[in-house]
C-alpha cells in the first residue's frame, strides 16, 4: 500500500513534522520524506505495537518498536483505516489497538506507563503522552508533586517555536497507584 502521509517523529520532546510517503508492505513499513532524503525503515519483526487514534480532522497511526522508539504517522482518512488495519494484521501479525483522544480539557485523570511512554488519561481517553526517554531530570517536591524536566534539543527544535520544558503532576495522598514507588513518576 502506498499512500501519502505526513510523519511526526516522536524522538524527542521537540517534534519534527515532515510530509512524506508511507509504504506498508509485507516486510514492515518504510516512510520517505517528501522530495527525497530521510527515510524511516521498520522491520516487521521490530514492531511491538500499533495503535489508531482519531485526531482533529484526520487519523493517526502509532507504531511502537522494540528499542522504545515510537513513530506517529498522521494524515489517514477514515476510509483508509479498515484496509490498513487488515493489511497490518495479515502482514505484521499485530492487531492495531484503538485509542481515543480526550478533548474535554480536564487536568485530572490517570497516568499509564507503557515502555518509555507516559500517557495522561482522562476517563480512559488519552489527553497526551510524553516519552520518559526525553526526561533529563525527575524531582519530587513535597510528598505530592512530581516534576519531569525534558531535554531541549536545539538541533531538532529548529522549526518549532514553543518547546515543552517541564511537566508537573500532583499526586494526592489518596491516590494508590504510585504509593511507595518513588522511582517512578
Amino acid at each position: 500500500m502506498l499512500l501519502p502521509f505526513s510523519l511526526s517523529l516522536s524522538l524527542t520532546s521537540s517534534i519534527v513534522q515532515n510530509p512524506g510517503q508511507l509504504r506498508v508492505h509485507s516486510g514492515g513499513i518504510i516512510w520517505k520524506k517528501q522530495g527525497g532524503g530521510k527515510a524511516v525503515e521498520v522491520d516487521k519483526a521490530d514492531i511491538v505495537g500499533v495503535t489508531w487514534m482519531k485526531v482533529p480532522r484526520t487519523n493517526q497511526l502509532g507504531v511502537r518498536i522494540k528499542d522504545g522508539l515510537y513513530y506517529k504517522f498522521t494524515g489517514f482518512r477514515d476510509q483508509d483505516i479498515t484496509s490498513l488495519t487488515n493489511f497490518i494484521q495479515n502482514a505484521v501479525g499485530i492487531t492495531p489497538e484503538e485509542k481515543q483522544l480526550s478533548v474535554s480539557g480536564q487536568n485530572w485523570g490517570e497516568i499509564d506507563l507503557n515502555g518509555n511512554m507516559l500517557s495522561f488519561l482522562v476517563g480512559s481517553k488519552q489527553a497526551f503522552e510524553v516519552s520518559l526517554a526525553d526526561v533529563s531530570q525527575t524531582q519530587l517536591q513535597g510528598k505530592n508533586e512530581v516534576m519531569l524536566e525534558f531535554h531541549l534539543d536545539d538541533t531538532t527544535g529548529a522549526n518549532e517555536k514553543d518547546s515543552l520544558v517541564e511537566i508537573g503532576f500532583h499526586i494526592p495522598s489518596s491516590n494508590t497507584q504510585f504509593v511507595g514507588d518513588e522511582t517512578r513518576p
Binding site: S13, P56, S104, F128, V130, K161, D162, S174, N175
Partner: protein, 136 residues
Amino acid sequence: GDGRRSVRTSGELIAYKNVNDIPQARELVIQVDQKNEAILLPIYGSMVPFHVNNVKTVVSQQDNNRTGYIRIIFNVPGTPFSPHDASSLKFQGSIYLKEVSFRSKDTRHISEVVQQIKTLRRQVASRESERAERAT
C-alpha cells in the same frame, strides 16, 4: 447560547465535545481558543486542550537571549479553589496535571498568550460566579 456551555459533567466545564471541534493548528504553538474557552498546548506533536477554568495562574519570563518562558499552573486539590471547583473532591483517586512549562523563541507570542489566558480566565470566572449567585 451556543449550547456548548450547557455541557457539563460533574459541574465541570468541558472544552470540546468532539475531536473535530478542535481548531486547525497551522503551527505547533500555544493557542488560545476564545470561543471554546480553551488553551491548546503543543505536547509531543499534538495540540492538547485544557479548559481555561482549570487554569490557576499563568506566568512568563524572558532571559537575556530573548528566549521566552511560559508556565501554566492548573488547579489541584489542596490549594485555594474557586467555589465551583469543590466538585473536584469527587476525583480523589485522580492524578492532576499541575503545571506545564514551555520555552519559546517568540517572546511577543508568549506575552500575547499570557494576556489572552488572563482575560479569558477573568471572563469565565465572572460568568461562573454570576451563575452561582443566580442559582442560590
